[in-house]
Symmetry: C2
């Protein structure tokens, strides 16, 4: 039943019925949270053995005592696992603390205060602009916003951000110093950057002398329905003569534990060496014991991949449930569009123009918290007010079903109201 | 025997003997390191139980799952221990990762890029100057140097930095935005700031509207020969109407483990709230599991204090050995001055003017690495070239004795050479 072609009378009748149903939901006193990409308790249990494992051998393969000072950029045991997992030489890897976001923020701060690669610190520039493929990750946008960077919203396509637009903009405007990317299973849409997109990002000419791609490969091995691989941005940039363009980030937050994981960054060898030098002024070093705990628990890259398959077994039924309910409740209504992601942590939907905020507000008033509408755009402003990020990972299946039924009802309510107002 | 009053002939004779002795040392092929304040392996063993302890209960007292996201400023269990230990209300405490230096650096970066308390970001100022009580901590000075801050060397007195000089400078020059302090058992001299010094720091009027004291209480509970306490800088600043003046730092690096500890910062409640907001843009949060591991292992502040007494039992004999050898070899020679610290991690000595670099170079050439001469001063420049930091914690007693005998020989060699050249 396509709502968009219904008569006004039918819509009025439908709205009355939907309102009755909504009232029944309100009486249930639901309290459900689908707002953030948090692993569920069952997923966290998958790695409980890691927290039971005693550390009794302290000497690292480089001879350092893991308990003592030293090793500002990480231990070789853990660097090797990251290296094998992501296909990046260990010399290009720097390990940090619990949060890869922290490493991105710190890199950005250093680009402003210290500069990198002999380029002047960005604090000296009148203006810094940034390419923000959107919808995107709200915490990325929060970093650039807090530093006063002017964010330029670029639409996503099924193969990644709109490269025609990006190539044109960066070629013309030297104030554009970089961009955010989540190349595999993008947050929130689950889009996979095509090989051509990655190649164009590596090869494109930029007016800025030090254009930086913050390559947040957050979901680099977070496969669900099929295993996908993106092109090697570090190799392509080197090949294109832009070796220092990419700053690469990854973490085990959704592999081991969000509350006790390990983050890493990578870059070409010269940039990594320079960043290592900058970091050695910043810190005595990250927690090495937790790195060793991870290395001994996972053993090797295959150990990590096996664990990811265990975690996916918890995620896939939730994804399937969300997709099934969307299909059942809203398929063919013309009120909502979405696509099935092959991995990552989110399913993204688009309502009719102007209906996202209303949908999220309706859900909230009935006890289901979603990611704020607009959060997936720079400055929290979704220009068409259509995009909503669904995070199915945290609630158990029964709660997820309730939340999704209510969500679909809210989409219908907001959609019908909009159609009636036209 | 006072070398400084000896005849030239006697000195020439002495120098020949010392050179012979030095040659014998060179033949030993020593390879000893007294350069950094690293705990010894035996000290690290004191906390091995912490690394064997399984974590099997995950719910924190605030209801959060320690394994998951959330709690950007630390877990209540660990905040309470820090609070009891240091006499700072939990609302004023923010817990970080492994390194308190990292928290200092990050605060400094935010002061430059974002500002704090409504004051303009320091990147907008033509010049930022900084009070650096010296000798001091080389890594502090590295932070201010890397950010282009002009460092002003202020001499230390037995009761803390020279307050007359500081009060005069900060009252006159608005470019002076802050200072480094290690108030208890200062690095490297082990000086204890007197109550009057702390009070004057809290009450002094500054031309800068946002003068910040980076209060690195690194050795706040690291007692050796007696237990000393400093005045409450946070309370005094509040009383003086300068509540937001102090940024307070502490860590468990030398309590639990340098390679897997916990750092914290504190400030007045309003500043702490603002910093918490800034940090929530920077990071998903620090490792909470390690905080819980610490809280369960130490149990409470008394548990931490008990552990510090265990650690001191390893340190005291080393301190005593160093002090005894200095006394035996150099007491009354007029070549070296030092005083006995009551806690901390270092013993600092002063050679005759112009002899520190030579002494350290001589030791190095015979296989004993000391902290670089000058490292304890801004820009690595000790104006009189007298100061050497001795770090007795790491080597075992027998190696420490060897290193110290050689060190004393090098002091004599450099001193006699200097006296002969006059």
């Amino acid at each position: 039943m396509n709502y968009t072609t219904m008569s006004k009378e039918a819509l009025v009748q439908l709205e009355a019925e939907l309102k009755e149903e909504y009232k029944r939901y309100q009486k249930l006193g639901l309290k459900l949270d689908m707002s953030r990409g948090k692993p569920s308790s069952l997923q966290l249990n998958v790695n409980n053995e890691m927290l039971k494992m005693p550390i009794t051998e302290f000497t690292l393969e480089n001879g350092l005592d893991v308990r003592n000072y030293g090793g500002v950029d990480g231990i070789p045991e853990m660097k090797r696992i990251f290296s094998d997992l992501l296909g990046i030489p260990t010399a290009q890897i720097i390990i940090g603390g619990n949060s890869s976001l922290n490493m991105m923020y710190d890199t950005m701060m250093r680009l402003f205060m210290l500069g990198l690669g002999g380029h002047e610190p960005w604090k000296k520039l009148d203006k810094v602009k940034w390419i923000c493929p959107s919808p995107g990750y709200d915490r990325h946008f929060a970093i650039t916003e807090t530093l006063g960077v002017e964010m330029i919203t670029i639409p996503m396509t099924p193969t990644g951000p709109d490269m025609d637009m990006i190539e044109k903009l960066v070629a013309e405007d030297p104030a554009i110093r970089g961009m955010w990317c989540i190349p595999l299973y993008s947050n929130p849409q689950g889009i996979i950057y095509s090989d051509e997109t990655v190649k164009r990002l590596a090869y494109m000419e930029t007016a800025a002398p030090d254009f930086r791609i913050f390559w947040d490969n957050a979901y680099g091995i977070h496969h669900l329905f099929s295993e996908n691989k993106i092109a090697d941005i570090l190799a392509l940039c080197k090949e294109a003569g832009h070796a220092d363009r990419v700053l690469y980030y990854f973490s085990t937050s959704k592999i081991s534990l969000p509350g006790g994981g390990i983050a890493m960054m990578a870059a070409d060898e010269a940039t990594a060496a320079e960043v290592r030098g900058q970091i050695s002024i910043q810190t005595i070093g990250p927690d090495k014991v937790n790195q060793l705990r991870h290395a001994r628990y996972f053993k090797d890259a295959d150990g990590v991949r096996a664990r990811m398959r265990d975690l996916a077994r918890h995620m896939v039924p939730k994804y399937q449930l969300v997709l099934d309910i969307l299909d059942e409740e809203l398929g063919g209504t013309g009120l909502l569009s979405w696509h099935k992601p092959e991995g990552g942590y989110f399913i993204t939907v688009d309502t009719l123009p102007g209906c996202a905020k209303e949908t999220v507000a309706l859900a909230k008033a009935a006890g289901v918290v979603l990611t704020g509408a607009g959060a997936t755009y720079p400055y929290g402003k979704d220009p068409r007010d259509t995009n909503i990020r669904l995070a199915p990972s945290y609630p158990p299946l029964d709660e997820l079903e309730q939340a999704m039924r209510l969500f679909c009802l809210c989409v219908k309510l907001a959609g019908v109201k909009k159609l009636l107002a036209e």
